[in-house]
Subunit: 508 residues, 2 copies
């Protein structure tokens, strides 16, 4: 019966949104190098000097103990840790160059670090917005709808966190309901927040249940990832350090991302912000590898700049894009997969949203990133998840993905016979060579409106924003919940119920 | 007195639009190669086969005579010409790798082919549009205003033609008034249309007068350029061939740009469209070099694709961007400077206009283009020149230019002392290292609105389009007519008056 319903739904589904099929985002081009070998070495050495001479604060007793035991210099009566460069370099060298990130649906399992770029949905926005509803505080209904969109969009490979914060859920049990929803409404790999040990362990247990694995098997198969942000400059706070240690112990994926906003939490020079980013990333990765050598980690780059006049954060700027390339080179220097993002500072889905995101997407793709966070939906420097932006980003990412694929050059594609047949002054509209390629020759965009001006005007002069509004509704209407074994569903529900009854996790 | 007025105007000028200073757009990155050496050779060989076996129509007796004399195979009683590959390769090899394109203001003279990308204003749009006036047929008043904007925008290096067609001017004398306006309202290098010998020679005479040169000196100093479009597939028409021959004879710059729209005037395969583009470009360049070996030419790439469902031309697509890179490789193979464009198919200045143009700008910059046509203002596949898009493009180009510049890495920029001084948990807002960089650290955008949502909303929720509308008005208000020697102005006026009295050029 359930299967019949699914089939019926499939037939009734609107085919309004033509998407490219699922498949890896893989660039045919070698990564673009913005730093010379000497410059790369200078940034590396500067960050080692920062860790050796200035040091970094670790707000976590167990982390301090691990670092002290490994030979780091923990300042007595303080949380300041200084590192011998060799200690850092030896620890970082233990991180793997690639690993799998498993999904509950094996078809969605990702290879991280082998040249493809995995793309997440927007994560962690406090607000949500769409054309009709406007901007509003995050809530569970929108949270679920954005998950459905993330599941429906082929270009989205995994979830980067909560697309929007479901503020209407009790903060003590929010993580249980949210992760359970992620595991039932989607079947792509998931992220859990490092908001203390209990929440992270609850999420890991839910993932274990969804995958139907034993604890031991789960340790062999990384199945969730968590973003660890340093509190720049040069500080890692308690819940984040809980995350670093627990993720390493459970062999799950830790993405160390310093938030080095040049001119605010980092020097007002790109070189300085990069040196600080690198120092913070290396310090966190060092702790991970000292906790469990070989645990899967990623090197996150998020360096951008502020508007010097107002202090407002800016994204998708020339400086941001340069930092993205430099971050990729640093990550490659250490042989660690690189995380970048698709970001913008726009308040509405207009030209600014598009050009700032294009600057980000292109830089990430050319930096050889293995993970693009916030791939679709991000607005206002991350303060709002936009339904319309989600489709706009999906379209731009699909374009970039096509662009990054090799060109086919053979006799049939060169088509000299077709050119001879058409001849000077003719046209190719009806030629057999054209008809053979009718369906597949070129990228069919989701949003671009290529009608002539008069026809477009008669249709009401729709903007990309309005096309995106229609498209997400069609996608949502066509959403199909991925299959989930009934026994697993019951086990997930039972775990959520039990932990809810126990009171969840302490309020933050 | 005139100088006093200028100075007064300068002081009164609104400083509302912060632009980057004038300077070359030069990429720090090597050109991006999409074709392997074998693929590049395959396209080259395919185009030689097209020229040898299929041939091309030259609708011009003198061109046919030049080609016949050089040994090409002109089909008796026809305009079809077939080329021995060696003839093409030998002629093309005579084209110079670089040359100057002189402006009447020597400070604006350009070096073409030495690694920098010269950027033109939009050219040849039949319509013009702005937010208040809407879309209207091109006219002389808008033509002049767009020239003033092109003069005011530092990122615009030269004029690519009429930014919009001044339809209200008599077509017999339009070229006289239009070129005279270009030479007085701006002091950047100019383009003239190849619309028959008379118009081109009139333009050349106006340029000679503006530069105060003799005929002989003008022949030593290329001072105008003209776009030659083939009538794809495989045809060059009479006025264009007039242009090829006259430009070569007068040693002015000829830019051979096939309009190979894949799926319409070229095969529905990118490889086929490129082979045809290359054949047409090589044929035109061959004629130029046979007419005057060493005459300055450029290789133009304009291959894009149609929407296969409607036949509508599309721009800034993944296929377009791939063709841009491939075109750059072909041009480099022949050692000829490469022309690309900033194009989009959008009907309004929205996200589509931005992402399609970003795809074009980025591809051109990474293809190593020496000339970007239609750099600012192009909409609707070239059917409309938009005031607002002109500023949007200028901003995006400035961003790309900054991005393409090398990063500075030295002790001062790495700022370890500043990081030590601020220390873990501090902030860089007031640090001396930040204050030193306050004015110059980051790109100050013309349009991006980085205010937080609430402040932005209180300001009326302006879009990029609205910011662009304000910006072009401020630019126009601050426009200053460049100085022009009174004697030269009188000579220009006298020439226009004489040629007008003679009836101008025959209506087309």
């Amino acid at each position: 019966m359930a299967r019949e319903r699914t089939l019926r739904r499939r037939r009734e589904r609107s085919p309004a949104v033509a998407q490219d099929p699922k498949g890896e985002f893989r660039s045919q081009f070698p990564p673009l190098e913005i730093l010379s070998a000497d410059q790369l070495e200078a940034v590396h050495q500067a960050s080692l000097r920062i860790l050796r001479d200035i040091g970094m604060d670790f707000l976590h007793d167990e982390a301090l103990a691990i670092l002290r035991d490994a030979g780091a210099d923990v300042e007595p009566g303080s949380q300041r840790v200084r590192f011998d460069p060799a200690l850092v370099e030896e620890a970082v060298a233990k991180a793997p160059a690639s690993f799998k990130l498993h999904a509950r649906n094996p078809a969605n399992t990702l290879s991280i670090g082998d040249g493809a770029m995995a793309i997440t949905c927007i994560a962690s926005a406090p607000n949500v917005s769409d054309a009709e509803g406007g901007r509003r505080v995050g809530n569970y209904a929108d949270f679920c709808n954005l998950l459905r969109l993330a599941q429906s969009l082929n270009i989205i490979d995994l979830l980067g966190g909560y697309p929007v914060e479901p503020v209407d859920l009790d903060p003590r049990t929010r993580h249980l309901d949210a992760v359970a929803a992620m595991l039932s409404l989607t079947d792509k790999p998931v992220h859990a927040y490092s908001l203390g040990r209990e929440r992270l362990m609850d999420a890991l247990e839910l993932v274990r249940i969804a995958r139907g694995l034993s604890d031991d098997d789960l340790k062999q198969q990384p199945s969730l990832f968590s973003i660890i942000n340093s509190s720049s400059p040069l500080r890692l706070d308690t819940p984040m350090l809980d995350g670093v240690i627990q993720l390493a112990r459970h062999n799950q994926v830790m993405v160390l991302t310093p938030f080095t906003l040049s001119g605010a939490m980092a020097p007002a020079s790109l070189a300085g912000a990069l040196a600080q980013q690198n120092a913070e990333a290396l310090a966190g990765i060092t702790l991970s590898q000292l906790t469990n050598p070989g645990a899967p980690v990623m090197y996150g780059g998020f360096t951008s700049n502020v508007d010097m006049k107002s202090g407002a954060p800016a994204f998708g700027t020339p400086e941001y894009s340069q930092a993205v390339l430099a971050g990729g080179q640093l990550a490659r220097r250490y042989g660690i997969p690189y995380r970048s993002s698709n970001v913008c500072a726009a308040n509405t889905v207009d030209a600014q949203a598009a050009y700032e995101s294009m600057m980000s997407i292109w830089a990430a793709a050319q930096a050889g990133a293995s993970l693009m966070m916030h791939g679709a939906g991000w607005m206002e420097g991350g303060l709002t998840a936009s339904y319309e932006k989600m489709v706009l980003d999906a379209d731009m990412l699909q374009m970039m993905k096509r662009f990054m694929q090799p060109m086919k050059i053979d006799d049939d594609e060169l088509g000299i016979d077709a050119i001879a047949e058409v001849g000077p002054g003719g046209h190719f509209f009806g030629s057999p060579h054209t008809l053979e390629r009718y369906e597949t020759a070129f990228y069919p965009p989701i949003l671009s409106d290529w009608r002539n001006f008069e026809t477009w005007q008669e249709a009401g002069s729709p903007t990309t924003y309005q096309h995106a509004n229609k498209a997400w509704k069609a996608l949502l209407a066509g959403y199909e919940e991925p299959e989930l074994d009934q026994a697993i569903r019951e086990e997930l529900d039972a775990f959520v119920a039990r932990r809810t009854e126990e009171g969840g996790a302490p309020a933050l």
